[in-house]
């Protein structure tokens, strides 16, 4: 179903511009007609993949309610596994118990939630809500910062200080005649002093506790069932806390399945968002200085300079990438450009961006979101059937 109009971009806000011809074509019909129409018009393609966890798609000819439903599900209804209960025996570090537990909860865990039961499901043997080996993953964190660690660290620094001959001037700031040069030299000297201070053995030794220090402890039949799976944290270089010599942490963390609705730590996306596509047309040709201003200053990335065919002019601006448009409306500052450019937002063309935290790949997340939406439809249908049956 093609949109029945466009949003014209004006200096403040958008103006809906109706297309009566399209509305007449979009007359409501039977559900089958809607599906055929959708199947014919719907387009989807990959725009960009900035990294393995980030996917940008383009949807065309789909309604905003559907795209918004997918976004809402991605954010809050796809289950993942995260630490929920922490049993703490020793915590002599400076981070408070509850703050430490909060940080542990936020650490993403690389375990497929579809292999784990949720806490509400009963197994027949256990009561609902009790931790079993079918619904809980257990991690242990045993870290001690000992005096020996500090000693080793001291020895390491002494070795590197002896090997390095440049560390004579520890923080001495050289003076200079010219004030601007002096500023530059003081900044550089400060940086060097900082570098040197790191090598001084007097700097207190802190042991950093990273998320990779947590170990998985298989429970019950998990050792056999999950012997070929990798149960770990997604990123093992997340800093949990720092310990000084004599401080210790010993705790057991239980991870379970949950959804973003319950707590944001369960959300599988860093964020999922969509925006409408813009369509930019040049009503009048833009040449030379104005073109250069447009390309470099006003909307970078959207326009490009091409050699112009018009005699007496050098270069012309042409639209090359409307997806880079940020709707800053900067070009309207220049009255000539404000007349020459027409920007329009198309209400059924979306740029959908999914950034995954790392549990799933972003494409897989979208597939899951669609499955969950189907599950919701089924649920409403079943509820309606039950109500009818009564």
């Amino acid at each position: 179903m093609v949109a029945t109009g466009v949003y014209e971009v004006q200096e403040s806000g958008l103006q809906w511009k109706h297309n009566i011809q399209q509305q007449r074509e979009n007359e409501p019909g039977t559900p089958q007609e809607f599906l055929d129409n959708f199947s014919q018009n719907f387009e989807m393609r990959v725009l960009e993949r900035p990294s393995e966890d980030h996917l940008i798609l383009e949807f065309n000819h789909v309604d905003v309610s559907f795209v918004n439903a997918l976004r809402r599900i991605l954010l809050s209804e796809i289950p993942t596994v995260a630490i929920e209960m922490v049993y703490m025996w020793i915590n002599t570090g400076i981070i408070h118990d509850e703050v430490l537990c909060h940080r542990l909860g936020l650490i993403p865990i690389y375990f497929d939630p579809r292999r784990l039961q949720s806490m509400e499901e009963t197994d027949g043997t256990a009561e609902a809500g009790a931790p079993t080996d079918r619904n809980t993953i257990v991690f242990r964190l045993n870290i001690k910062c000992t005096a020996e660690d500090a000693q080793e660290d001291k020895k390491k620094h002494q070795k590197s200080a002896a090997a390095d001959d440049d560390s004579d001037d520890e923080g001495v700031v050289p003076k200079s005649a010219h004030p601007a040069l002096e500023e530059a030299t003081t900044a550089a000297a400060r940086a060097k002093a900082k570098e040197n201070s790191k090598k001084i053995p007097k700097r207190p030794y802190t042991k950093h506790v990273y998320s990779g220090d947590m170990e998985w402890v298989p429970q019950g039949d998990q050792a056999k069932r999950l012997e070929d799976t990798d149960v770990r944290v997604v990123h093992d270089d997340i800093l949990i806390c720092k310990l000084r010599p004599g401080q210790e942490i010993e705790l057991e963390a239980h991870a379970r399945k949950g959804t973003g609705k319950d707590h944001a730590k369960f959300s599988p996306v860093a964020t999922a968002s969509y925006r409408l596509c813009t369509e930019i047309t040049l009503l009048e040709p833009v040449y030379d200085e104005l073109a250069e201003e447009l390309v470099h200053l006003y909307e970078p990335g959207v326009f490009e300079l091409v050699p112009s065919d018009e005699p007496g002019t050098r270069v012309e601006a042409k639209v090359c990438n409307p997806y880079a448009c940020t709707m800053s409306r900067n070009y309207m500052r220049n009255p000539q450009l404000a007349k020459a450019i027409k920007m329009v937002r198309i209400p059924d063309r979306f740029i959908f961006s999914i950034e995954s935290v790392g549990h799933y790949k972003p494409a897989v997340l979208l597939g899951q979101a669609l499955n969950i939406l189907q599950g919701k439809c089924r649920r409403v249908q079943d509820l309606a059937d039950q109500a009818m049956g009564r």
Binding site: M1, E27, P28, G29, T30, P31, F34, L35, F38, S39, F42, M44, R45, V46, V62, D63, S65, F66, N68, A69, R72, I73, E77, M85, D112, R114, R115, G129, D221, K224, R225, K261, D262, Y360, K361, A363, V364, L366, G367, L370, N371, L373, Q374, K376, C377, R378, V380, Q381, L383, A384, D385, Q386, A387, M388
Partner: protein
């Protein structure tokens, strides 16, 4: 369980039909649903020629309840319930179409689905084996009890 554990509450009503009069106009009260399915279902209902009026609302953001109001045209011969069920079915099929295109576009989705099916099969087999072992253990225990009874009689 701990004292301060928070459990997600379920809505008190999961489905209720409100409205008297001809069956072409009804308000459906659906619990544990929100704008996610409300807006999508409303849009699909609007594309249905038999529906004269379709709207949804979330009466209060703190309560997970959603109302859908459907009024069908008098001469269309379809009831509000039919329209609701058809719209859910259409949304389901729409998701199927999008899933199909997604799998064509990005093969990793299909690979993940097939892999997951295999893993879940394996897990289910593992659980069945476990249950069989437990049943065997129970049988052995029963035999022991029988022996105990005999002992007691003597």
């Amino acid at each position: 369980m701990s004292v301060n554990e928070v459990k997600l509450k379920k809505a008190p009503i999961s489905f209720q039909v409100k409205g008297t009069g001809p069956a072409t106009s009804r308000t459906f009260v659906i619990g544990d649903e929100d704008h996610t399915i409300g807006n999508s279902a409303r849009h699909i209902l609007m594309q249905d020629a038999r529906v004269a009026f379709a709207g949804y609302s979330v009466p209060h953001p703190s309560e997970p309840i959603m109302h859908v109001r459907i009024q069908c045209k008098a001469d269309s011969g379809c009831t509000a319930m039919d329209a609701l069920k058809d719209s859910c079915q259409t949304l389901h099929s729409q998701c199927d179409i999008v899933l199909q295109r997604l799998e064509e576009l990005l093969p990793e989705v299909k690979e993940d689905r097939l892999q997951m099916e295999k893993i879940i099969l394996k897990d289910n087999e593992f659980f069945e084996e476990q249950e069989e072992e437990e049943e065997d253990d129970e049988e052995i225990l029963e035999d022991q009890d029988e022996d105990a009874d005999v002992y007691m009689e003597e």
